[in-house]
């Protein structure tokens, strides 16, 4: 059965490949970097994932690269395991990635699914662990931005004001029993219920299953059904809803700083880009990301327009 399937797939695939290549589209094989043979700066493929923030970051990268004279093609895919091998091979040239996310991925890829975590709350240490892993895959990591998209926990502004809360430690010091609104897999996780109880000493009596960053979890906190809800640090809707994040002062969240990951050969051929992206990383803040996410997710602006505006505001174009 296995052999039959493989055989059938291989033969039919080979035939189809030929026919598709003859009859197919206009841009089958022009992907990937081609150094400036035609006098221009050549083409760049920006990769990324198919969700709002990644889409905005890809649009920012595209605008910066076009401004620098490159022809840019953006390819957004569903998951990291689709684009990272392509980045490694040079079919994708640059990706806006997340520090701990790419570190964990490359670590498991190199050392197996049971490998010890090398990412941590510390961006410096995480970067130090990431660099050799990335280098082995032909990927260069540019300096991470301070902007970070981590999981985070929020309470109502009112509750925070009454009890003078700014951090999760403050909340723990209150000694109140807490109901937490979070996805079911929160139970026991070091960056969720596990960390909140073991590291902070929170008394979590119940996890009410509510989706991450959903309208439901925000309503539940507002209505007092739960005291604490889970969302991301780049959630720009909280302030308008009268909600506020509590700082992760003991660092249970891995460092998910926005980090450009570049194909090493491409970077070697285009060394000037390092400056361009370092300026971006310096300018970008978590608040910027939150504000841009709101513009796309609620005001339904196009990521390209939001990216353009951001770059102009920061004087990067």
């Amino acid at each position: 059965m296995q052999i039959l399937r493989a055989l059938g797939l291989a033969t039919a695939g080979a035939v189809l490949l030929t026919t598709a290549a003859c009859g197919g589209g206009d841009d089958l094989e022009d992907a990937g970097s081609s150094p400036s043979a035609d006098g221009g700066q050549g083409t760049v493929v920006v990769g990324g994932q198919n969700f709002t923030e990644s889409q905005i970051m890809a649009a920012i990268y595209q605008a910066l690269l076009e401004d620098a004279g490159y022809q840019v093609q953006t390819k957004l895919v569903t998951t990291r395991d689709v684009y990272l091998p392509e980045l490694s091979k040079g079919n994708v040239d640059i990706v806006p990635d997340y520090l701990a996310g790419i570190t964990d991925f490359l670590n498991t890829q190199a050392n197996g699914p049971d490998a010890d975590l090398v990412s941590s709350n510390d961006p410096e240490k995480t970067l130090a662990a990431l660099e050799p892993l990335a280098e082995d895959q032909g990927i260069s990591i540019l300096p991470p931005s301070d902007a970070t998209d981590q999981n985070a926990f929020f309470v109502t502004q009112e509750f925070a004001d009454q009890n003078d809360l700014t951090t999760l430690s403050d909340l723990a010091a209150l000694g109140q029993p807490i109901k937490l609104g979070a996805p079911p897999d929160c139970q026991g996780r070091a960056d969720c219920e596990g960390g909140l109880t073991k590291v902070y000493g929170l008394d979590i009596t119940e996890i009410v299953p509510l989706d991450f960053a959903s309208a439901q979890v925000k309503d539940a906190v507002k209505n007092g059904e739960v005291q604490l809800g889970e969302t991301g640090t780049t959630d720009g809707t909280l302030q308008d809803l009268g909600l506020v994040l509590l700082e992760d002062d003991k660092g249970i969240q891995p460092a998910q700083n926005l980090t450009p990951a570049v194909n090493s050969d491409f970077l070697a051929e285009n060394p000037d880009l390092e400056d361009t992206f370092n300026q971006l990383s310096d300018a970008l803040t978590t608040e910027d990301l939150a504000a841009m996410n709101v513009q796309v997710d609620l005001e339904r602006k196009k990521p390209a327009d939001v990216a353009q505006q951001f770059l102009e505001d920061k004087g990067l174009l």
């Binding site: 059938g8 797939l9 189809l16 490949l17 089958l28 992907a31 796309v296 339904r300 196009k302």
Partner: protein, 227 residues
Amino acid sequence: MALVDGVAQCYVDNDWICGRYWTDYRPELTDATVEHLWITVVSVVAGLVVAVPLALLARRNATVESAVVGATTIIYTIPSLALFSLLLPLTGLSPTTVIIGLGLYSLTILVRNVLAGLQGVPDEIREAARGIGYSPTQLLLRVELPLALPVIVAGLRIATVSTVALATIGSIVSYGGLGNLLLLAVGNQFKAQIFAASVLCVALAGVLDLALVVLQQLLTPWTRHAR
């Protein structure tokens, strides 16, 4: 919620039907529809180009027939996620990945229908054609394929409509046509975009189906007179 002035009300309310969306996102919708169309057409044409010789091979004897029909059916059972993942290392983030996948899926329907169409040609007609001196090639091109055409086109119609729906999966590798818009919109609950992309998918399937019906009428005028 304090939103910036000038944001269309149907965006704020996240309505399914939002006229503003259709104008604001016209270029995106057009590009996605065009991509969806050509990926679908190329996939089905490629599938047909492979299906005809496979069907000709299959009709030689029963063993070959069950092998070919079996193999193309098994392909259909491979989950699309897995199939694209298998192709990815070979063809990368390119339309080719999607076209091979969709073309392979279309084989299940096309091989069976081409085969059934050819087998449906009455033996006495074949006999008569040979009797007036047709070579095997002439027999195939002038007698068998034209007579099999209605059944083949019926298969093409099913394959095309199912390929329009399946093509959205190409968004895994960023070549999903309207699927790219759908995936993004599901992610950030953009109802107007989910609605528009779905409507365009259905419309595309309808238009292509109609085009094939018209094509068949033009190619087989005798089926109209026969009634």
